[in-house]
Amino acid sequence: MKKTLLFGLIALSGLLIAGCLVTGQVTIIEDVDIGVTSNSNIGKFHLNLNENEDYADKIDKIKSIDAVSFVARIWNREDSASTAAIYISSSGSYSTVDQIEDNAIKVLETPPVPANNSILIGWNDSYQYMHNLDSLFRYVKDVGEFYVYAIASPVPFDDSIQAQIVITMTVGN
């Protein structure tokens, strides 16, 4: 019986030392209201995760970012199909498609959106359209504040985008 208890105590001690028992996973959802975006007036949104109470409470306790995606409804207001894309950057000074494509990081590219119609990218589907997750994870964990741009192709484009960022992370003491 002593050996049995010792075995259990050793296992439990190891886990406590590793901090494994005091971490948990949380999901944070934050609005990304990009709105109307066109080639002549590109839509952008300043996303400050620190304004999210859950994120601000846990920023010093983040152990890992486990998943990030964007859910979105995209309206294509042009007469031809288009593909929308979301980019992120720490700079909010970009105003052309070329500047964004050259300097920002593409994190989402949608499937084709039919002319004068909309599509919804739901939570489960969102992951298959994500790009450059390592960079996005770093922005979420280490920066917490960045600009989100939306463009589309082909040019000209005229879209309206309502989106939310969904972050699942492990936090603990």
């Binding site: 049995t4 075995f7 296992a11 971490t23 998943a67 859910v71 739901g122 489960n124 939310q164």
Partner: protein, 183 residues
């Protein structure tokens, strides 16, 4: 030759003794897999198969295969409630038992396991981790060499940076004992 013959005799004696008292059991199990402090998955079912070898009553080693199914997590979005695939986990591992691990009647033991952990979800990449679990088990072994077992396990998959995914696993299993240990 003087040394080899006694050594051979001792080895034969030990082998015969081990055969007489050792217990090998195999069988399937069915249970639940309940994530703890985890917003990325919900509870689901678990099935598996295990084998155990008890060379002596107080100690045993074994192996297992687990197939776990997670339930789909849900969240509220601007377009309404939505879910994503909870996915499934397969785990192949080894087990060490301490306690009364063989013989007919009531057996009670603590078990510690080390396993490979592969989590597959729709639209998300496969995640591979090493998982550690431990907990108590109880088995009632009938004279007909069938054992009914119940076990609870605290399961931890470290994710790096001192974080981890945790789950409570419990199952009920049926084991067939090939040879039984001392009673």
């Amino acid at each position: 030759m003087k040394v080899k013959l006694p050594a051979l005799l001792i080895l034969l004696a030990l082998s015969a003794s081990a055969y007489a008292v050792s217990d090998i059991s195999v069988g399937p199990f069915f249970g639940m897999n309940m994530p703890l402090a985890n917003k990325d998955a919900k509870s689901g079912t678990m099935i598996g198969f295990q084998a155990k070898y008890s060379p002596i009553t107080l100690f045993a080693v074994g192996g297992h295969y687990q197939g776990r199914k997670y339930g789909d997590p849900s969240e509220e979005f601007f377009y309404g409630p939505d879910t994503k695939d909870g996915g499934s986990v397969t785990s192949l591992g080894i087990d060490a038992y301490l306690g009364k691990t063989s013989g007919t009647g009531v057996n009670f033991y603590l078990v510690g396991s080390l396993g490979s952990y592969k989590w597959k979800r729709e639209n998300q990449g496969e995640i591979s981790k090493t998982t550690y679990s431990f907990g108590p088990g109880l088995e009632i072994v009938l004279p007909m060499k069938l054992g009914i077992e119940g076990r609870a396990l605290f399961d931890i998959a470290p994710t790096g940076e001192s974080g981890s995914w945790k789950a409570l696993l419990w199952f009920v299993g049926v084991n067939y004992h090939i040879g039984l240990g001392p009673m």
